[in-house]
């Protein structure tokens, strides 16, 4: 019960932090600029106009679609971390054969899949706004998509096995194989030429960094809370099953 209470508190704090980050992204974070726009005459606009001699005025074109960064990246990083957590539990299961590790690995995989799907949705929205296409077969997107397919395959595999012990072992083995892709997907934009932005190579203004960190901390809390809530649900389910069996005798 104590764990459940911690999970609920973390969920609330995490939700608060991500919401704060959402507002910060729009109100305090500096608007990133993407090229400049030149206009013939002075306009009434919130952007800072710069006179360019005879050619009129220019202003930095605001890059509003960049705002999704404060949500998309924290969710994506949480998805990688939770997937690696799942693989760690899988390895520990294979070493100790304790059922609790298998349950933990499965629940972590579930949580990670939720985050992966959220990343996909925000990512697709962003590529449409920024690149003009819904999808591109580009190294990061592709490896991430493959990672999602493997995580779905993990559940297909589990659901098609009757024997509990075998289901756990096969699931753990495949979780390890799937998790090999997580660092590859994370590093690939830094190794291969890719359209996907690598933000932390170029550095960031502090007004942009702050909402990002708030969102990242919040998202990790939400991630842990979702995981812990599902775990306690799972434990309750197990107790109910045990009670039912005892009653039926």
């Amino acid at each position: 019960m104590k764990q459940l209470r911690i999970a609920i508190i973390l969920l609330l704090i995490g939700g608060l932090l991500t919401t704060t980050a959402f507002f910060m992204a729009f109100f305090t974070a500096e608007v990133q600029q993407f090229g400049t726009v030149t206009v013939a005459s002075e306009l009434d606009t919130a952007f800072q106009l710069v006179s360019v001699g005879d050619n009129g005025f220019s202003y930095g074109r605001p890059w509003f679609s960049q705002k999704i960064f404060y949500f998309h990246v924290p969710v994506a990083e949480a998805s990688f971390l939770v997937l690696l957590l799942s693989a760690v539990f899988a390895v520990r299961f294979l070493m100790t054969r304790k059922r609790s590790f298998d349950t933990k690995s499965r629940i972590a995989m579930e949580t990670s899949l939720v985050f992966v799907i959220l990343t996909m949705i925000t990512g697709v929205l962003w590529t449409r706004a920024s690149w003009g296409v819904w999808w591109e077969w580009e190294p990061r997107l592709t490896t991430y998509f493959i990672m999602m397919l493997m995580m779905i395959a993990y559940f297909v595999l589990r659901n098609s096995i009757e024997d509990e012990e075998r289901r756990a072992v096969y699931g753990a083995a495949f979780a390890v194989l799937a998790a090999i892709n997580a660092p590859i997907s994370f590093m690939i934009t830094r190794v291969l030429e890719s359209n996907h932005p690598v933000v932390f190579q170029s550095g960031m203004a502090s007004s942009n960094l702050l909402p990002f960190i708030v969102a990242q901390v919040g998202m990790l809390m939400v991630g842990y809370a979702v995981y812990a809530l599902r775990m306690s649900e799972e434990r309750l389910g197990e107790r109910i099953d045990a009670a039912k069996e005892a009653l039926e005798g």
């Binding site: 294979l94 592709t142 490896t143 493959i146 397919l149 493997m150 779905i152 395959a153 297909v156 595999l157 098609s160 096995i161 009757e162 024997d163 012990e165 075998r166 756990a168 072992v169 096969y170 753990a172 083995a173 495949f174 390890v176 194989l177 799937a178 090999i180 590859i184």
Partner: protein, 249 residues
């Protein structure tokens, strides 16, 4: 059950003879080859399947017109045929073992698990290579008559071998899992295609470079081969480490 008996046997009692693993490896591999020579089932079914794939390709390309050069997609078509053919073969090879109780007997015998893995994988690799060797001339005859072959003669065998090592290595592990599930072939497909993605991408790139030739094809070929080799190293190692757990479950 079998695992239990083996676990109870202290390691010291298992006879330690130098070169024993190699002899065991040869024995298991020989069994697979002898069985294949008697039934001719794997190579026939895989070869026929691959031939039928070529027929389907013909249908797919039938409306492409005379200006279209199939050489540009030859690498993709070839590896598509090989990946699906290999899944058929891998499934067969393990279903036999299971249905006839051979796997149980193998587990009962005092053979190290990695030896079983490498022997089964080598068997699958050999059959896959035979089918590939049969497919290539047919494919060349059907689709590559105009334009000819751009690279050196050894390029295609090299990429075929490197790619097949990965397919057989990972596929043997996945097929060992999937034969014990309720949806055998389906589960193998769902597990295998995402996991094979990096290998296929690199292999197709190398094969295309070999078929088309021209400027920069050598460097494209070698970077493809490097990708395939890296994948082989990582994944075969992972499969080797996980096989012991999987086959015991």
């Amino acid at each position: 059950m079998a695992d239990e008996i083996l676990r109870r046997t202290p390691p010291a009692e298992r006879t330690k003879v130098p070169g024993l693993s190699l002899r065991q490896y040869k024995a298991i591999l020989r069994k697979d080859i002898v069985m294949e020579l008697r039934t001719k089932e794997m190579v026939t079914s895989m070869g026929l399947y691959s031939l039928l794939t070529m027929v389907v390709y013909q249908i797919a390309l039938s409306q492409s017109g005379s200006a279209f050069d199939p050489r540009t997609i030859a690498g993709g078509l070839l590896w598509l045929a090989f990946i699906f053919t290999s899944m058929l073969g891998l499934n067969r090879s393990l279903v036999h073992e299971k249905d006839q109780g051979c796997l149980e007997a193998l587990l009962l015998s005092p053979v190290d698990r990695p030896v079983i893995y490498f022997a089964k994988a080598s068997g699958n690799l050999i059959f896959l290579l035979i089918v590939e060797t049969l497919t290539i001339p047919v494919f060349a005859l059907m689709f590559l008559q105009q334009g000819g072959y751009g690279g050196s003669w050894w390029m295609i065998p090299l990429v075929l071998f490197a790619g097949s090592v990965g397919i057989a290595g990972v596929g043997t592990l996945l097929a060992t899992m999937s034969v014990n599930t309720s949806g055998k072939d389906f589960v193998l497909t769902v597990l295998m295609v995402p996991l094979m993605y990096p290998l296929l991408l690199a292999a197709v790139s190398a094969t295309s470079a070999a078929v088309l030739g021209g400027d920069g094809s050598i460097s494209q070929f070698w970077s493809g081969i490097a990708g395939v080799a890296g994948y082989d190293a990582i994944m075969v190692l992972a499969a080797y480490a996980l096989y012991e757990f999987v086959i015991g479950a």
